[in-house]
Amino acid sequence: MSVQISAYIQDDIKEKMERYSSSHGLKKGFLIENAIEYYLQALHEIPTSVLVPSSISIDEKTYKKIEQLNLKKPNKKLIELLS
C-alpha cells in the first residue's frame, strides 16, 4: 500500500530531482522512495555516528560571523605552525 508523505527540502535538491526525473523519464515518487530505501540501507551498513554529513547549514548570523573571521589577522601560533 502506498502512502503520501510531505517534507521540506532545499530548492536546489528539488531542481536536481526534477531535472533527473524528466531526463530519465522516472516518476518523482519512484525516485524519492528509492533514495530513502538506499539511504536506510546505507545506515544499516555504517552506523550513523560514523557518517559525516556532506554539508553544513548555517544562518545569517553565523554567515556574518564567518565574514568577520575572513578579515581576522592570524595569531602568532598559527603563523609559527605554518612556517
Binding site: 551498513e45 554529513p53 553544513i56 548555517i58 545569517e60 564567518i66 592570524p74 595569531n75 603563523i79
Partner: protein, 186 residues
C-alpha cells in the same frame, strides 16, 4: 623526532591504537578503513613514529549552505554551497600525546586545505571538536560557530569550529615574510 604522515593503507595495523576516547578508537580500528576503501566517504591520514601509527585524522570535502540570507548577501554569494575541508576525527595515541604530533598532523591538514583551494576551491576548514579539544583548536585561530544542520551524530555533540582560508593565507604570507627578514639578517 621524525614523524611520517601519509594516507591510511589497508595493511596498516590499527588494533593497538588507543587515544583514551573509546568512540575514536573504535572508529579508527573498525570504520576508518571501510570509509576510505569501501564507501569513499572520507580519507584518513596517519602519523607514524618509528613505523608505528601514533595519530590519525579523518577528513572529507564538505560544504556550507547558508539559509535564509537577506537579498544584500545573496547578491554577494555564489549560487552554490561554499566548499570547505572538514576534519571529522582527530586523535593522538595516549602514549604519544603532548609531543607535538598533533601539531604536525594539523599543519599537514592545513596544507591539504591550501591544495584543495588551489585545485577545487576551499574557503576554510571545519573541525568537529570534542568539548575538551576546543581550546586546542582555539590557539590556532579556529572559532566556534553555530550550525543549523550537519552535526556529526555523536554524543555529546561535537562543537563545530571554523578557520578561514583568508586567515590561513595571511599566516603563510606572514611566515614567508618573516623568513625573508631572517635570511636578510643572517
Amino acid at each position: 623526532m621524525h614523524i611520517e604522515i601519509r594516507a591510511l593503507t589497508k595493511e596498516d595495523y590499527r588494533k593497538d591504537f588507543s587515544c583514551g576516547n573509546y568512540e575514536l578508537d573504535i572508529f579508527f580500528q573498525k570504520f576508518a578503513s571501510q570509509n576510505q576503501f569501501k564507501h569513499y566517504i572520507g580519507l584518513t591520514y596517519v602519523a607514524l613514529l618509528n613505523h608505528k601509527i601514533v595519530a590519525f585524522a579523518t577528513i572529507s570535502a564538505s560544504s556550507i549552505r547558508v539559509e535564509k540570507l537577506p537579498t544584500q548577501y545573496i547578491k554577494k554569494l555564489p549560487n552554490y554551497p561554499l566548499p570547505v575541508l572538514r576534519i571529522s576525527r582527530f586523535a593522538v595515541d595516549i602514549t604519544y600525546q603532548n609531543k607535538g604530533i598533533a601539531k604536525s598532523l594539523l599543519k599537514f591538514i592545513l596544507n591539504l586545505s591550501i591544495e584543495q583551494k588551489n585545485k577545487f576551491g576551499c574557503m576554510g576548514i571545519i573541525v568537529d571538536a570534542k568539548e575538551d579539544s576546543v581550546s586546542y583548536y582555539e590557539q590556532f585561530d579556529f572559532e566556534t560557530i553555530n550550525i543549523i544542520q550537519g552535526q556529526l551524530d555523536v554524543r555529546p555533540y561535537a562543537k563545530t569550529m571554523f578557520l578561514s582560508m583568508h586567515t590561513i593565507m595571511k599566516a603563510i604570507n606572514n611566515s614567508s615574510q618573516n623568513h625573508k627578514g631572517t635570511s636578510k639578517n643572517s
